[in-house]
Symmetry: C2
Subunit: 329 residues, 2 copies
């Protein structure tokens, strides 16, 4: 029997949208149905032959023709509007990552998805996403314990953007770096209390405008509230050429630990880590396997907004239950 | 509102049963209802005040009075009989770990559980269990990839028992040790092909009977089929006192890696690891949070045999969906 492929749409064709297109190609039970953009559709050339780009204004016409829509917009301004709007028309996946606003966003998407009978999995990716899974598993398995999350070494796009807004800065790349000593302490099982400054340092590579006041730029970066003031920050001024040569990738990494005790003081440490050459390509690989789950949950009548915590692992796999039990259990 | 606690029973009171008793005490929404044993119930004193020990012949009388029964028997001879028998009477959790026989065991338990309307989660623990989860997540996220599992450094009870069966051996402890170089190679993302011998070594501590032929014992161990012949094995003869002093614990550890590529050759490595002071206490902590899930899945009408791959992570937690989204997502 030839089963039909899951038809996936992409909304937004930036780094994440392109990564999603590449990830769909790696999954034989899925196909890219269409890409939607707010830019001029003619300005975009896809990598997948035979697939068209449409204006996002036309998305409505595809209701019923696309099984899952992957929303590749940003969390600050795109998703709060896109999430509920698309959940009214399609099953959706997004990577909403403003942690503090997740409950509010969940409710807005849930209302739209429940009303229309769709399934929308929000906040998918690695953090929130795979790291959330590990925090939840760890918390449930070792209730008498402490969780720790470290990020890096990797490029933080939010922090890089913040530096670019400083006067006299032409380009910037910010690396978040976990403090090795703090990680060793956690790994040893001693469950330390760690301040923000003790967990991460920040390293900035900056291309300045010609003639700009470098010491003023450095000071503005290091004292920037929320972004840098609570961290030990290093600033390196480099040439445009060096930026292009050494800092054009978007690598990232991170760690989740659960350290806890059982019985009469036996200690256990669970460690989960990622080392990623390309943050957007990895994130979109996670989005795509959750698209499979959203499609299946919708077929099973499980409507409304969901998070990775609501999704049974088997739903992510193209393999059958029998295959999973025989090969991976 | 006072919600009633989940009533958990334990069948079998060895290391795993004792660990389960300790783990239940760490979870405020659960209580130990009773312990069942094939030994004489009077010979067992529980740590939990007010709870009784019964003969396993009496278990039937508790049908409807215990929400979930945790089966702490061994996989070789206990569970193949216990699994289906208890699934006919209770929701159950077990740690069946004979990988090759899981499909057959699943079917037997599934038949009993479906018929009686119970939910039975089989093969729970860390391998199979948490490691299976990580193999499945990794396989789904990075379909173009390779998975690796390493065990140790830790005590293998099966291998220790095998050595104890050698003539002239009074006591033995076998440590499984992952090969550092092999792990580094996997961690680097190069996706090596590794033979059994290249992945693990085995270190044995043996107390011999007085006057036994040590070189014969060493040779018998090192050439033992299935257990040691495919590994580089070291044998140390030690005194009974040294055994008691340095090898009385049951620590274990292990690693699951998924190394894979996306797009045009970007590599990613996912690493999951455990470092456990007490293998049975950690394993039973996993069993206990899956008991919560079995209870909930049964209330939701999801009957039959399940594995960890069928269980949504949120079902393991005593926290509500709102709490999980706000605190852990």
């Amino acid at each position: 029997m030839m089963t039909e492929k899951i038809k996936v749409g992409i909304v937004g064709y930036g780094n994440l949208g392109k990564g999603t297109e590449l990830a769909i190609a790696k999954n034989k039970d899925m196909e890219l149905a269409a890409v939607f953009t707010r830019r001029s559709p003619e300005s975009i050339t896809l990598m997948t032959p035979g697939v068209s780009v449409y204006s996002s204004d036309e998305a409505e016409k595809f209701a019923g023709k696309i099984d899952v829509m992957i929303l590749c917009g940003g969390s600050a301004t795109d998703l709060p509007e896109m999430g509920p709007r698309y959940a009214a028309l399609f099953n959706t996946i997004d990577s909403f990552d403003t942690h503090a606003k997740i409950p509010e966003y969940f409710n807005a998407v849930n209302e739209a998805a429940e009303k229309s009978g769709h399934t929308s999995i929000i906040s998918v990716g690695w953090d929130p996403g795979l790291f959330s899974l590990n925090r939840a598993y760890g918390d449930a398995i070792l209730p008498d314990g402490t969780s720790y999350t470290f990020w890096g070494r990797g490029v933080s796009q939010g922090h890089s953007d913040a530096i670019r807004r400083v006067e006299g800065v032409r380009d910037a790349r910010q690396y978040t770096i976990p403090v090795e000593g703090a990680m060793s302490s956690v790994r040893s099982g001693e469950r330390p209390s760690l301040t923000t400054r003790e967990k991460h340092t920040r390293e900035c590579f900056v291309v300045a405008e010609e003639g700009a006041d470098l010491s003023r730029i450095e000071k503005e970066i290091k004292t920037m509230p929320n972004y840098f003031d609570e961290y030990d920050t290093t600033v390196h001024f480099i040439s445009e050429e060096e930026m292009r040569k050494n800092h054009s990738g978007l690598p990232h990494a991170g760690f989740v630990f659960r350290s806890g005790s059982t019985g009469n003081g036996n200690n256990h440490v669970i460690e989960y880590s990622l080392k990623l050459d390309s943050n957007p390509e990895f994130t979109s690989s996670v989005l795509v396997c959750y698209a499979r789950a959203a499609y299946r949950m919708n077929l099973a009548g499980q409507n409304g907004a969901k998070t990775v915590l609501d999704v049974a692992p088997a739903l992510l796999s193209a393999k059958s239950g029998e295959q999973l039990r025989a090969e991976l259990l």
